[in-house]
Assembly symmetry: C2
C-alpha cells in the first residue's frame, strides 16, 4: 500500500522539496540549490539524489512511495515533457522519463503555476472544491485552472495564462509577452505600481504615496488608511482584474477563485476590490462564487506537485 509521496517545486534559485503522507500531511520539507549551469543538466539528477537520500534516511520502503510530483517554470504536456524553461536554462527535457529512469518511481510533472493551483485546491484556499481558478499576483500575474480536480493544461500549455488576457488599450508599453494591454501589466505588483505612478502624475491630488516609495504594498496600506488617491488606484486594479475574472468564469465557470502572490498579503481588501467588478460583470449563474485568499504561500507548489501523483 502506498503511504508516502514527494512533492518537488523547481524554481530558478532553489528546489523546494516535501515528503507527504498520501493524505496530504507534510512530514518534512527542505530545499536544495538549483544548479542552472550547463543548461541545467544537474537539476534533475540533484532532485533524484535528494529524494533517494530521503527515502534511505527515513528508512522508507520504496514500495510505499506513490511517486514524485514535480512542478517546473515552463510549459509541460500530459506526457511530462517540458518544452523549455528559461529560468532553468532548459531546452526540451523529457522530465518524466528521465526522472523515472533515475529513481524507479512514478513521475508526474506540471507547470508550476498550475501545480500551485492544484495545491491550493487540495489543502489551501480552495479546499473542499475540485473546480478552482487560482490567480497569483506577484511580479507578474500567474494563473492555474483546475476543472473536476484536473489541471487544464491546454493544447499549447497556455491553459490558465490569465495574466495575458487583454484588458485595456490604454497602456504605453508592451508586455513581456510582446502584446500590449495584458492583465499582468495592470494587476501584478508591478502593474499596481504602474497604475499608482500614472495616477500620481496626472494631477497634484494629495496622497501619502507622494511621501515615499510606491509599491503594491504601500498602495494597499494607503487604501487601508483611507487615502483617496490610493483608493482610486485600487478601483482601477479591481476593475481590470474583477472584469477579467468574470470573463474567465464565462469559460471555466469555477466554484472558487483563490487569490495568491505578494499582492494578496494585503488581505481581504484586495478581494473586496476584485469582487465589486467581478459581480457587476459576471454571468448571472456565476455571480455568487467564492473568493478566497491563498493559504499555502510558498508551499503551494510542493503540495500541488504531491497531489498530481495521487
Amino acid at each position: 500500500m502506498k503511504k508516502y509521496v514527494f512533492g518537488i517545486d523547481v524554481g530558478g534559485t532553489t528546489v523546494k522539496c516535501g515528503l507527504f503522507t498520501v493524505k496530504g500531511e507534510l512530514l518534512e520539507k527542505w530545499e536544495i540549490p538549483t544548479r542552472t549551469e550547463n543548461n541545467g543538466a544537474a537539476i534533475l539528477p540533484d532532485v533524484a539524489e535528494t529524494v533517494l537520500k530521503k527515502i534511505s534516511e527515513k528508512n522508507l520502503d520504496k514500495e510505499e512511495v506513490a511517486g514524485i510530483g514535480i512542478g517546473v517554470p515552463g510549459p509541460v504536456n500530459d506526457q511530462g515533457e517540458v518544452a523549455g524553461a528559461v529560468n532553468l536554462h532548459w531546452g526540451y527535457v523529457n522530465l518524466a522519463d528521465d526522472m523515472e529512469k533515475m529513481t524507479g518511481l512514478a513521475i508526474k510533472a506540471g507547470n508550476d503555476a498550475n501545480v500551485a493551483a492544484l495545491g491550493e485546491m487540495w489543502k489551501g484556499g480552495g479546499a473542499g472544491s475540485d473546480s478552482v481558478v487560482m490567480v497569483t499576483l506577484g511580479t507578474g500575474v500567474g494563473g492555474g485552472i483546475i476543472n473536476n480536480g484536473k489541471i487544464v493544461t491546454g493544447v499549447h500549455g497556455a491553459g490558465g495564462e490569465i495574466g495575458h488576457i487583454h484588458v485595456t488599450d490604454d497602456v504605453e508599453r508592451n508586455c513581456n509577452c510582446g502584446n500590449r494591454g495584458c492583465l499582468e501589466q495592470v494587476a501584478s505588483a508591478t502593474g499596481i505600481t504602474y497604475l499608482a505612478n500614472r495616477r500620481l502624475q496626472k494631477d497634484d491630488m494629495p496622497s501619502v504615496l507622494r511621501n515615499g516609495q510606491v509599491s503594491a504594498k504601500t498602495v494597499f496600506d494607503a487604501v487601508k488608511a483611507g487615502d483617496a488617491l490610493a483608493m482610486e488606484v485600487a478601483e482601477e486594479f479591481g476593475k481590470y482584474l474583477g472584469t477579467a475574472l468574470a470573463n474567465v468564469a464565462c469559460v471555466a465557470d469555477p466554484e472558487v477563485f483563490v487569490i495568491g502572490g505578494g499582492v494578496s498579503k494585503a488581505g481581504q481588501v484586495v478581494i473586496d476590490y476584485i469582487k465589486k467588478y467581478y459581480t457587476a460583470n459576471a454571468f448571472m449563474t456565476c455571480k455568487q462564487v467564492r473568493f478566497a485568499l491563498a493559504e499555502l504561500g510558498n508551499d503551494a507548489g510542493i503540495y500541488g506537485a504531491a497531489k498530481m501523483v495521487l
Copy 2:
C-alpha cells in the same frame, strides 16, 4: 456489441432526432414537434416514444443500442439534471433518470450549445482535434468548450457562455442577461446590425447599407462588394470577437476554434476579420490555432448528442 446510438436535439419548436452507427454514420434523421404545453410535460415521453418506435420499425435489437444522447436549451449538470429550460417551459427536470425509466436505455444529457460543439468536434469543422471551442453567431452568441474530448460544463452550467464575456463599456442598452457590454451585444447577428446602424447614424458617409435593410447578411455582402462603411463595421465586430477569443485561449487554450451560426454563412471573410484581432492579442503560444467554419449546420446537435453516449 453496441452498433447504434440515438442523438436528440430538443429545440423550442421541433425535436431533431438522429439514428447513428457508433462510428458516427447518420443512418436516418427525422423531426417531431416540441409540445411545450403543460410545462412541457409531454416532451420527454414523446422522445421516448419516437425512439422506441424507430427501434421497432428498424427491427433493431435493443442490446445493440448504446443509448440516447439528448441536448436541451438550458443548463444541465453531470448527472443529467436540467435546472430549467425557458423555451421548453421546463422547471427542474431529472432528464437522465426519467428517460432511462421510459426507455430502458443509457441516457446522456447536455446543454445544446455544448452538445453542438461536441458534434462539430466529432464530425464537423473541428474533426481531428479533441480540444475545440465552438462559437455560434446567431441571434445571440453561444459557445461550447471541449477539452480533451469532454464538454466543460462548469460548476454553474456556465462553461462556454462566451456570449457573456464583457467586451466594451460603449453600448447603451443592457444585454438579455442583465449586464451591459456582453460580446453577444456586438458580435451576434443582432449585434452586427446594431453596430452597423450606429455607424450609419454617426455621419453621412455613403454606403450601400443606406439603401435597404441592415442585417448581418447585408453587412457582409457589402463588405464583399468593397463598401468602406461596412468594412469599418466588420473591423469593429472582428476586434470585439477576435480579442474575446484570444482571452478564451488564455483560459482554455484549444486547438481549433469553430465558427458557426447564421453569421458564419458569410464564409471565410468572417474568420478573416476575427483572426486579425485574435492574432494580435493572443498569447504567443496560441497565435497559430486553426479557425474553421462549422460544417454540420442544424445537425451539429444530433451528432454531438450521439457522441455524448459513446
